[in-house]
Amino acid sequence: MSVQLQLDGVNRSFDGYKAINDLSLSVDKGELRAVIGPNGAGKTTMMDIITGKTRPDSGKVLWNQSLDLTKIDEAGSARLGIGRKFQKPTVFETHTVEENIALSLKAERGVFATLFHRRTEAERARITELLQLVRLEEARDRPAADLSHGQKQWLEIGMLLAQDPELLLVDEPAAGMTDAETMRTADLLRSLAGRHTVIVVEHDMDFVRALNCRVTVLHQGHVLTEGSLDHVSSNPEVIEVYLGR
């Protein structure tokens, strides 16, 4: 299995506070990986570094074992095929549900390409397919602002899939969802693995268990341990810093 993403000795501090401390992590192509850790463990900063929002002070972030992601901005990482879903769902509220998906679809991102863009039949079909997948077909002509919190989460997942990214970074997808929705999200993410590489940051242990995948525990910007959920949750250090709380 080839490596999709590799972090090697990454450091980043903010005003002397080490948010990321010699972090090394490797995720294979097509893998589903859960990242857990207490607040302030550096989960969000890690995602910021991968997506080019934050530059590390030192260390390497390699994409497909060749390209250095630390030189690339947010739009560049998205164009490479890194899709990110935020903890707080951010959809474009004044646009309709359909437009939200349409704007996320994989396509030319240049100024003039979008100025003269006309929606193709293939794009229309893909939009409908995605809306069905996230169960928002009924709401397609409504402004996204009208959606419930859970529906916004789904819309954002739909937008992420529309980008057809190689790697999905998913930050707390289950926040604000009902139990049934949470399980459906877990099913969806599991089904995406294989075709896409998926990294999920999550707090909800039931959700992580449902993902049934390799788990990385972060603590103080460093990998504490890695393995199956049962393996990591029996680790006394993990219990102390995270699960015991």
Binding site: K53, D73, E74, R84, T94, G110, V111, R119, P143, M159
Partner: protein, 384 residues
């Protein structure tokens, strides 16, 4: 897909067409008895302001870039046209110098500065009317948007930009007539500016420019690019993570808007007969923002309407009680901000909608009292 000319745009363009026929024709047919000549120039000036407001609405209403320096682009367009008009005076100036404008002779300059070359050609001047503001917007935007300057900081530096230009243009050494600016124009394309024909022609041109500006702005804002502009306005960082280079989009719309403002300025100068550094004043740029807010931000037509309403009120007010105009303007702005979140256009459209509600007029007024109008506002904003 949204159509290019929706009802709002259709009604406005129809109204503009009627004005464009009636005002110049009424003036020319009655020899100034029915529609005095000054009215033609006055309304022509309002149309230039309307185009300027549309330009600002493009960047502010749709992309969230609150430019407090748009007057600079307008003034640069005005100066570019003014330079052509100065060259057209030729040897009919006070000093009768065939090459140098009067103020240069007065300053004892011996030859024409290099940046005045080419302005004797109308086509060259017309090109510069768009290229100079466009180039300034490009350079300014390139640095500002790449450095991710946004919000209040961006507004402040746009304000600083226009103020700096004002100070620069005040200086005689700049070669733009200093304090007095450019004036005493004689004719354009061989037609004396003081004739009714020239006034009517300029009026029609201004109306055409406004219509074209509105349609171009509408075409841009209904395209996929227009949708992305709104994404940037509402959630800039999210837009980046979708793979869109926000700075490129901002730069594009900023340059288009600056060029539109330049055209408005170019049509303004011959109609008022003067262009001076006062046009760069920060207060002017702030007034443009008031036009757009008052008319209805993000609606294009509303911006044009707002400009015409405020400019017309200014003419009336400064005639009646000159010392109260600024208070009236401030008051107007407060009223719109507090009670008309969608501006005058929103008020008109809500009013028409409730009239169309038919016999249920009582129910409508009851709903009004229940505060239905504020409830409708977010929805309506969403549509815009």
């Amino acid at each position: 897909m949204t159509t290019l000319i929706d009802r709002r745009m259709g009604v406005f363009l129809a109204g503009l067409f009627v004005l464009t026929v009636l005002i110049p024709a009424g003036n020319l047919a009655s020899d100034g008895a029915l529609v005095p000549s000054y009215i033609v120039s006055l309304f022509g000036k309002y149309l230039c302001y309307a185009l300027l407001a549309v330009a600002l609405d493009l960047v502010w209403g749709f992309c969230g870039i609150l430019s407090l320096g748009h007057g600079a682009f307008f003034a640069l367009g005005g100066y570019a046209m003014g330079m052509h008009l100065m060259r057209e005076i030729g040897d009919r100036g006070v000093y009768a110098n065939p090459l140098l404008p009067d103020f240069m002779v007065f300053l004892n300059w011996k030859e024409l500065p290099w940046f005045w070359l080419g302005f004797d050609q109308f086509w060259f001047a017309s090109l510069m009317v768009m290229l100079v503001p466009g180039a300034l917007a490009f350079v300014f935007g390139w640095f500002a948007f790449r450095s991710r300057v946004t919000g209040v900081y961006l507004s402040i530096i746009t304000q600083a930009m226009t103020y700096a230009l004002q100070l620069a243009f005040f200086r005689n050494e700049m070669g733009f007539g200093g304090n007095n600016g450019l004036t005493d124009f004689k004719d354009v394309l061989g037609i004396p500016l003081q004739t009714d024909t020239a006034r009517a022609g300029l009026f029609v041109l201004s109306a055409l420019a406004l219509a074209a500006g509105l349609l171009i702005a509408r075409a841009i804002t209904t395209s996929k690019l227009g949708m992305i502009l709104v994404c940037i306005r509402d959630a800039e960082s999210r837009t980046r993570f979708m793979g869109y280079r926000v700075e490129g989009y901002k730069l594009f719309i900023f340059v288009v808007s600056a060029m539109m403002a330049g055209v408005a300025g170019a049509l303004y100068t011959p109609q008022v007969g003067i262009i001076n550094p006062g046009e760069f004043s920060p207060a002017n740029s702030i007034e443009i923002v008031i036009w757009v807010a008052l008319g209805g931000r993000g609606t294009l037509v509303g911006a044009a309407l707002g400009a015409i309403i405020v400019a017309a009120s200014k003419t009336l007010f400064t005639g009646w009680f000159p010392e109260f105009w600024l208070f009236a303007l401030g008051g107007l702005f407060i009223v719109v901000t507090l009670f008309l979140p969608r501006g005058v256009l929103g008020l008109i459209e809500d009013g028409l909608a409730s009239l169309r509600g038919g016999g249920a007029r009582r129910a409508v007024s009851a709903a009004r009292e229940d505060g239905q109008a504020p409830d409708a506002a977010p929805e309506a904003e969403a549509r815009a």
